[in-house]
């Protein structure tokens, strides 16, 4: 009591100098606090700015990829060309000269076949080289069309597309321009008649690889990525969660488990290309799994995701309040029952978050896939994970190295598709976490 009184007396009788010093201190402290808050705000602002710049660049460059210039051509599906014998043999019909049909249709639209060979070539180059496939697919899908004249939207050539989208400047000199004056005149005519239109580019999602941008798509890459995600889910989640539960709940704490723990943490930081090398050595060379197959990609990515899932799961398990475990033990639950009935359900949101972060990482990974030969020009859609496939980020990488104008926008467009996919996965993570988060 006496001490307290002395202290209060002391406080009330501070000398003027002490009071001044104290108020200065206080001001300094408040200024430091303000400064710190400002640094934080500035950091967030700079981060947001970079994000906005990134997104505007990607979207600005990428959105034209979702539109594809097409030409409405009335094609005469001449039985003489397609099926001269009339036996409707699919194999023979596949080999017919559909390019000729397309060109004849185009001549009709543009007022006759040019006499000059050079002009003919220019006119042919208005259409994509992939139009024969478009007509062929339409005929094979419905052979009753043979002999009729039907309107079909045919892809325009990549350069035509680029000119309409403004990527090629029509004011440059004719000699140095990829699209010549004559072609521009035809294009203007078609555009005026609403026969040359930019339409939504479904092909971007469905077409396989192609050397022409207008017929190149992400079809194979999407299937490959899908297979790999499924393989990662099936392998990495059960193995990762089981390993984490064992290490966290059952394993004795000794030197061996310490070493294991350190190694798992280190594995999470191993460069992903190393996992690719491992996949090449073990899965392809040793186990003889098919090169470029999405099974190998899935296995490699699963290995890469495991440490992330194990670490996240262990953290989630550790975060479950010990009082819940005690409560369960207290009513006579065994260790297994305690973990499966109480701890895991409570850790579930954390496990989900970690898992989805791991999968998002895996989906965006390119380097290990380069090592196992998934950088490939794949034109056949894979139906099983054993067949050659590519993946989204690898496809982006390959398009980014292509020279044609159209691939620039497609690279950005594919990046948008990848980002959208990752965004959806992240949103799913947030949703699941919210849904299963329970307070205790």
């Amino acid at each position: 009591m006496e001490v307290q009184e002395e202290m209060s007396k002391d406080l009330s009788t501070h000398s003027a100098a002490v009071k001044r010093r104290m108020s200065q201190r206080l001001k300094k402290r408040q200024a430091a606090e303000k400064r710190f808050q400002f640094y934080g705000l500035a950091a967030i602002f700079i981060g947001m700015m970079f994000l906005v710049i990134l997104f505007t660049t990607i979207i600005g460059k990428g959105w034209p990829a979702f539109l594809q210039t097409s030409v409405l051509v009335n094609v005469n599906l001449d039985p003489e060309i397609i099926d001269p014998t009339g036996e409707r043999n699919v194999d023979k019909m596949m080999q017919a000269n559909y390019t000729k049909i397309a060109r004849q249709g185009l001549y009709a639209e543009l007022g006759g076949k040019p006499k000059n060979r050079r002009d003919r070539k220019l006119m042919h180059n208005l259409l994509s080289r992939g139009v024969d496939v478009q007509i062929r697919d339409a005929v094979i899908a419905d052979p009753s069309l043979i002999g009729k004249t039907v309107p079909i939207w045919l892809y325009a050539h990549g350069n035509v597309d680029a000119l309409l989208k403004g990527a090629i400047d029509r004011n440059t000199d004719n000699s140095s321009r990829l699209v010549k004056d004559k072609q521009i005149a035809w294009m203007d005519k078609l555009v005026a008649e609403d026969k040359m239109v930019k339409r939504f580019n479904w092909g971007l999602f469905t077409h396989p690889a192609s050397s022409q941008p207008e017929t190149a798509g992400l079809g194979v890459a999407l299937i490959g990525t899908f297979f790999m995600v499924i393989i990662v889910l099936l392998l990495a989640i059960p193995i990762g969660v089981a390993a984490a539960v064992y290490l966290e709940e059952f394993a004795p704490k000794n030197r061996i488990t310490d070493v294991i723990e350190v190694n798992i943490n280190n594995l999470a930081a191993v460069p992903s290309i190393v996992f690719g090398l491992l996949g090449l050595a073990v899965f392809i060379n040793f186990m003889g799994l098919p090169r470029s197959g999405s099974i190998v990609g899935g296995l490699v990515l699963a290995l890469m995701t495991l440490p992330t899932i194990i670490i996240a799961t262990r953290a989630a398990l550790r975060a479950v309040s010990p009082s819940i475990r005690e409560g369960a033990y207290g009513v006579g639950a065994s260790k297994m029952q305690t973990i499966f009935h109480h701890v895991l359900p409570l850790a579930f949101p954390g496990i989900m978050t970690g898992t989805i972060i791991g999968i998002v990482q895996a989906v965006g990974e390119t380097a290990p896939l380069l090592m196992i030969g998934m950088v490939a020009f794949v034109q056949d859609f894979p139906t099983t994970p054993m067949e050659p496939a590519t993946a989204l980020p690898v496809q982006i990488y390959m398009w980014a190295t292509s020279a044609e104008r159209g691939f620039v926008e497609r690279t950005a467009g594919a990046t948008m598709v990848l980002l959208a996919g990752l965004f959806i996965l992240n949103a799913a993570a947030v949703y699941l976490r919210r849904k299963y988060e329970r307070k205790w």
């Binding site: 004795p252 704490k253 309040s321 009082s323 819940i324 475990r325 005690e326 409560g327 369960a328 033990y329 207290g330 009513v331 006579g332 639950a333 065994s334 029952q337 009935h341 109480h342 409570l346 329970r438 307070k439 205790w440």
Partner: protein, 284 residues
């Protein structure tokens, strides 16, 4: 209704700073009871550190025994030996014998899960499972297979809640979350959960330390009612609480039992000077 009545009757008592006199009159034990739990030379080690030094204690059946003592004196450690909760801690080692009804609970042939079903436990902080009120109670009976059908389970849940004095408050929201109850209600839910596995012994580790005085009074009233059917061991920091609810008291200090005896005797006529100092508030 039961609960509110209890609150009214108990509240005035709480205002007394020292109700030892009352404890004297209400807690007189008429006759000697048979021993339920016998401890002989129980020592507990946490790694190198010894926490309990040769505890010898006999806990009589169908009565409340309180363990008091300053923080870190080993009373909770001892309590957790009785249902082998210390097994969960890797570095913990227990020597000596604890017998319940003459059977050694540290016998390797004894199943610890079965033991914990027979010995309910209530913790310091109310820890209902993040499930519905019904599932909180039904969990123990379910995992032990105590009931054979839904009707029996319903009845068991109802009985447990009635015994814990919670039925009237929650009967209309059994499917609501157990964590949505107030602190005192949650603790009574935990008691109901402990009762549901039909234990013989209930261990309580400072069950009221996180509760307000009114909820505390309700729980104390409940403990007094439960004593006719269960052997209760309670760890408490409140000397008034020990005096109010228990028939026997053991005073722990630095891992040893300093004094043990009838509650009235410990609080009115302690034999040991340390006990005297502790209960009069001179240390601890």
């Amino acid at each position: 209704m039961v609960a509110t009545h209890v609150v009214e009757s108990k509240a005035p008592m709480l205002e007394q700073t020292n109700d030892l006199a009352e404890a004297e009159t209400t807690n007189v034990e008429p006759a000697e009871k048979s021993t339920k739990i016998t401890s002989e030379d129980v020592c507990v080690y946490y790694g190198e550190k010894q926490a309990l030094f040769g505890i010898d204690l006999e806990i009589p059946e169908n009565s409340v025994t309180s363990l008091i003592g300053p923080s870190g004196c080993g009373k909770s450690t001892y309590l957790r030996c009785i249902n082998r909760m210390n097994d969960v801690i890797d570095i913990c080692r227990v020597t000596g014998t604890i017998k319940i009804d003459g059977k050694d609970i540290y016998d390797p042939s004894l199943d610890v899960v079965e033991l914990r079903a027979r010995i309910g436990m209530v913790f310091q902080k109310p820890n209902p499972f993040p499930k519905s009120i019904y599932d909180n109670i039904a969990y123990g009976p379910r995992i032990h297979g105590l009931t054979s059908n839904k009707a029996e389970l319903d009845e068991l849940v109802e009985n447990s809640l009635i015994k814990a004095g919670l039925w009237n408050e929650v009967k209309d929201r059994l499917s609501g979350p157990g964590t949505g109850l107030s602190g005192g209600q949650q603790q009574r839910l935990c008691i109901a959960r402990a009762i549901a596995t039909k234990p013989e012994v209930i261990l309580m580790d400072e069950p009221c330390s996180a509760l307000d005085p009114i909820a505390t009074a309700t729980i104390e009233e409940l403990i007094d009612e439960l004593r006719s059917n269960y052997t209760i061991v309670i760890v408490t920091h409140s000397m008034q609480q020990a005096a109010r609810v228990s028939q026997r008291t053991a005073f722990f200090h630095l891992g040893k039992i300093i004094e043990e005896g009838e509650t009235t005797q410990i609080f009115t006529n302690p034999q040991n000077e340390k006990t005297q100092d502790y209960i009069t508030g001179r240390f601890g």
